[in-house]
């Protein structure tokens, strides 16, 4: 569906997997990258504009909608919007109550935000893969990746935020000595300190990494399969019709993955924060 007539399937896939990157290209000055090599040459300070745009848009949508409902809340017969929001809030609240044993008013709102935001970002995957990039191409935007969670920057950003909170509350609740002691003295006692540090360090670091990679990998895989099915549209009427059916089937299956991954990110956040709040004796 791109402008050039001779587009191989590899180029098509690569085009779909390239972010709209803005940054400083050595020798060319500030501007948008034209391909992934350009984007790589821009270094650390390059910004994925499409990721930022869609994630902030969806985050704003979530905040705006929930704020609007909360402002117009009524004790009488609630409207459909209030019903829906109450249902979501109750669902998250139930999960927090179930898995979080400490006392912290921040955890439930955090869990709600994480769940709704990730869910909204994942839902962008259900929009036909070519639709938004094609529309953007008409107004002159060369690359567009619609699903922010298929960009590892988003998922690692969120996971590192959670990791930062885990560290903060570990130090705050357990104290420096308590937290370091937990890392250094746990499985094997004080004589096995190097082994303890290694094991506990790995399990500590693996938390944000697995959190981020799980979400990213699932969403990337889902989008990859959408793209691969979309290639079949170029193969004539029969293949095209098959591809249409396949897209639909995969989209239906993908609804499960989308919700599940948002839910798991939320639950694991709660569990990690719960571990940070537990004092060992």
């Amino acid at each position: 569906m791109s402008s050039s007539a001779t587009l191989t399937s590899q180029e098509y896939i690569q085009h779909h997997l390239t972010n709209l990157t803005f940054g400083h290209l050595p020798g060319h000055g500030w501007g948008f990258a034209h391909n992934s090599a350009d984007a790589a040459a821009m270094g650390v300070w390059a910004v994925n504009v499409d990721t930022l745009f869609f994630s902030l848009l969806l985050g704003g949508l979530f905040a705006w909608f929930f704020k609007k409902v909360a402002d117009n809340v009524t004790a009488g017969v609630p409207g459909p919007a209030q019903n829906f929001v109450e249902w979501v809030v109750e669902f998250v609240d139930e999960n927090v109550r179930g898995s979080f044993s400490g006392k912290n008013p921040m955890v439930a709102p955090l869990a709600l935000t994480i769940f709704c935001w990730i869910l909204l970002m994942n839902i962008m995957d259900l929009i036909p893969v070519d639709l938004l990039p094609w529309l953007a191409g008409m107004v002159g935007v060369s690359h567009l990746r619609v699903v922010p969670t298929t960009d590892p920057n988003t998922t690692f950003g969120m996971a590192l935020m959670v990791f930062g909170l885990v560290l903060y509350y570990s130090f705050k609740i357990k104290g420096v000595g308590g937290f370091v002691g937990e890392l250094a003295l746990q499985p094997f006692g004080k004589w096995g300190m190097p082994a303890n540090l290694l094991l506990e360090g790995i399990s500590l670091i693996s938390k944000p990494v697995s959190l981020a990679l799980r979400l990213f990998g699932n969403m990337y895989a889902g989008e990859m399969i959408f793209i691969l099915i979309a290639i079949m549209y170029g193969g004539g009427v029969v293949l095209g019709a098959t591809a249409g059916v396949l897209q639909f089937v995969w989209a239906v299956f993908h609804i499960l993955i989308i919700t599940l991954q948002a839910f798991i990110f939320m639950v694991l956040t709660i569990v990690y924060l719960d571990m940070a709040h537990q004092e060992h004796h």
Partner: protein
Amino acid sequence: MELEVAQAFAMAIKFIGAGLMLGLGAVGAGVGIGVLGGRFLEGAARQPELIPMLRTQFFIVMGLVDALPVIAIAMGLYLMFAA
């Protein structure tokens, strides 16, 4: 001629690798989710009143188990068609 053979060989290895990724990932997930689902049904049969709680836990663990094979599938397909 040497070069063509080498290229064909590299291609074949790539496809074998992708096949291994898809297949072994599916084997692992199949065993894992099979055991998980079986135990879920056992638990549900023993204590039907716990089904809502068990279902939540079931889905959490299923998401954890399911993540790696899905990633392997995507990487395998990427290897086959795009790389």
